[in-house]
Symmetry: C2
Subunit: 504 residues, 2 copies
């Protein structure tokens, strides 16, 4: 029997620690699995070893395993086999094809925290180096769907929208969801928060209403008003993705097969029948060339077919921000302005209507080629604004909110053109960086407003951008940093649509 | 300022933990580096996030970082860049060639615990999938040598021996080291302990004398008596290897380039001029075919040339255990029996003399082709035994030890042949497993003795093997397990030698 030293620290894993001498005595090594037993309780944990933290005869047990064992004072341990999924990960490294059961077993162990960081990283690294074939990606996606919560709607079709990301200021979901829902279609939109950006759709919507709901609540709310805009991270939908993102973020990689599966798993889990993919193409986005966009479009459509989900992809201009604002409050204000028909940038309006139009066509409420004008009618008639207010209300926000109510940073400072001329260069990533230095997304009021577009004539001393923040200090940092920035906006956001109209 | 919650747990890393809300506020994510500062002290740590363990406004700090910061009560933190080596690891995943400086930077960060488990695993996985070219392996080996302690002998040549492993009962170093030292050559042999085997050379030698010495002590002892047999793990020689092994063990992989570098780094760090490689070939070893052995031999010789170390490789029969014993005490007893010229198995004697003979030739104390007989003379004359006693004494053991003094397990049980016939099959891995179930290597007395060899006639009821253990319970487990075992021994251990005699 080993004396327990409780280590009350959540480590995200069932973990125990033995002195290296004790481990050696027992023929155990760091990384081995052990079955830990006490009267009436048992659990399997990953072993770590230490020279000093625990003495021979003792065992350190971390929070997760302590809970399973009900805080025992002594335990005994036995060697336990490593999860079978480790074998499959090894096969994957060896570029062997994986079976459906093997992929399922890997995903289940990821969801159950049965893999150590080392093992998870090996899987992600192998994913990055070796692509899976389309059959494997289908199985991977299904496994990611089936290891989490799912929504089954009684009414169909269920629409959804996803952006591949990489373009700043992309607040289009705030317009697309109400347009589509106002057309009578269901659209249960789960969104992300910013990881490296200045604000995800969930960060934006949070200004208008709460965004944390369970899968059951998402179903209920969507059935009542046609749509929601919520944070996917609060649900247990495709939970493998969150664990994978941790390792992907640490390594700054985004394995292609895994990206396909993660996107489609979230759509499959909410029961989507038809999805439009926003694929920003351009320098600084994930898709630097139209060719890369076409390959991805083909693969997403193919994967959708395998899953019974219709997918259409719209390559959009990703070379500059969508609209003129970056940062939660600024973006929400801009989106509301468009919904209220009080103006707003063409790039935002055009992109939102293009994507919403595709969904209206896919959902059968607009004829082929008529989606854009149908969406435009819903927007200009005020029906979209009305629908957004319903969505805000049902999510617990104030439906009377107006664009002018949205409080943006009190401290703003203009960055002036150091010389006259035309705007000829523009760096998306630096603009996002500026918004983040100013405090976005945590400081909802922080952000950047763009005054001059690509190709536009600028006089010396005219403002190029304004930076806002709740904090003097952060504003000052951002302004200092901004002395190297130039802004751009380009009209005509939809470059190409897949499948092409002529192919349909 | 953040309130410190000390987490006094060694995590093998500089690590801090923020509440996920606090991290989000600061634009930080798990895996990011942060600079942690307090009055008069600062350190860089890897960030983890938690929902519950620490509240917003608090920071959990683990032992390693706490020490650097001198147990502060409050700290502030700033985002810090990730180590540059992460970029190089990413390049490596992308199959780009690495420069000498990049490889050095990766190895230095591994030694300094600057990489998280996820990052280390990504490097190991990429190593496993992508081979390095010989130039990169040279740089890797040099980086592994230079990031640890080194021994510089004043006398030359310095000889060394390494076994690629995979064959049980391989106690040959206990004979080779004293033969080579008795011939007047230096041989500072650092050995490993068993990881998955029943006993490494260090586990064996520990029965005769202490094996934990610093690099400086190894030099001193070797200069006094010509040789030592010590545990490499107690030194700081090529310390990157221990960290890499952790991830390799967890993933059950042994990346080829990394294996080459790890082997040669340990030889380079002790200042070896000439090394003989024991390369057991056969089912169950790391080299299943002679072709695989030849490739490895070529690569080791090539790497040696780049490092200024002469390497000769001897492919040896690895299909069955060396000698008739597996397990520390049994193996030591068998090795002493041979040194005392009181018999002992031919396979052990022949293999030891072959490898020692190669070293005598390489060291210039025997003519080409005369090494074996020179080694045999040293053995039969008793000089080797005399030298081993000097080595035992200088390492702090009892030089009067005799083979009959070695206590092996009191509880032994024979496994009898269930039917008469000839021995036709033999499973090395199962024999090792049996010895481990019986308690080896921690229970020094536990092990397996082999009574019948491959092809030998066996009568029903004759003992095939005996299993010994200090523990009744473990003996019983092993005996139960043994009902599926069959033993083998083959004479004529040296199959082939590289470079071939005719090429020299």
């Amino acid at each position: 029997m080993l004396q327990v030293r409780p280590f009350d620290i959540e480590i995200g894993q069932h973990k125990v620690m033995l002195n290296i001498v004790e481990a050696r005595e027992r023929g155990l090594n760091a990384g081995d699995r052990v079955r830990v037993r006490t009267k009436g309780a048992a659990t399997t944990a990953i072993l770590d070893t230490t020279l000093e933290m625990v003495k021979p005869g003792e065992i350190g047990i971390f929070t997760e395993a302590l809970k399973d064992l009900k805080n025992p004072s002594t335990v005994d341990i036995l060697p336990a086999p490593k999860p079978a999924s480790l074998c499959y990960i090894k096969n994957f490294m060896d570029k062997e094809k994986l079976s459906e059961d093997q992929i399922r077993s890997i995903v289940q162990d990821i969801v159950d925290n049965n893999l150590s960081d080392i093992e998870l990283a090996a899987y992600i690294t192998a994913s990055y180096i070796h692509d899976m074939d389309s059959q494997e990606v289908e199985w991977l996606t299904k496994a990611m769907i089936e290891t989490g919560e799912r929504i089954h709607f009684d009414t169909h079709p269920v629409m959804d929208k996803h952006s591949i990301g990489g373009v700043p200021g992309n607040k289009v979901s705030l317009l697309i969801v109400p347009i589509v829902a106002a057309a009578g279609l269901l659209i249960p939109k789960t969104s992300s928060r910013a990881i490296t950006g200045a604000g995800g759709t969930a960060d934006l919507m949070e200004i208008l209403a709460p965004v944390e709901f369970s899968a059951a609540e998402i179903k209920e709310l969507t059935e009542k008003v046609g749509g929601v805009i919520v944070w996917g991270g609060a649900t247990n939908i495709a939970p493998a993705d969150d664990k994978l993102i941790k390792a992907e973020y640490a390594l700054s990689i985004d394995p292609y097969s895994q990206m396909l599966a993660s996107i489609m798993a979230k759509k499959g889990a909410v029961g989507a029948d038809a999805v439009v993919m926003d694929m920003p193409v351009g320098p600084g986005t994930k898709l630097t060339t139209p060719e890369a966009g076409r390959t991805l479009a083909k693969d997403l459509i193919d994967l959708g077919e395998r899953l019974g989900i219709r997918v259409e992809c719209a390559m959009t201009f990703g070379g500059s921000p969508v609209g003129r604002t970056i940062g939660p409050a600024l973006e929400v204000k801009e989106a509301l302005t468009v919904l209220e028909n009080k103006g707003g940038p063409n790039s935002l309006k055009e992109k939102s209507l293009s994507l919403a139009g595709i969904l209206l066509e896919m959902g059968g409420v607009a004829g082929r080629g008529e989606g854009y004008s149908a969406a435009e009618e819903i927007l200009t008639s005020g029906k979209a604004l009305e629908k957004l207010k319903q969505i805000i209300e049902i999510q617990g926000g104030d439906p009377a909110v107006k664009s002018e109510d949205i409080v943006t940073g009190e401290n703003c400072e203009d960055i002036l053109a150091p010389a006259g001329g035309y705007v000829v260069a523009f760096f998306n990533k630096r603009l996002v960086e500026l918004a983040r230095i100013a405090g976005a997304p945590a400081d909802k009021m922080a952000g950047v407003t763009i005054h001059k577009k690509m190709g536009e004539r600028v006089k010396k001393g005219e403002p190029l951008i304004s930076i806002c923040s709740s904090s003097d200090w952060e504003l000052e940092s951002a302004v200092k940093d901004a002395k190297r920035q130039m802004p751009i906006v380009v009209e005509g956001m939809l470059l190409e649509r897949y499948p092409r109209m002529t192919e349909l």
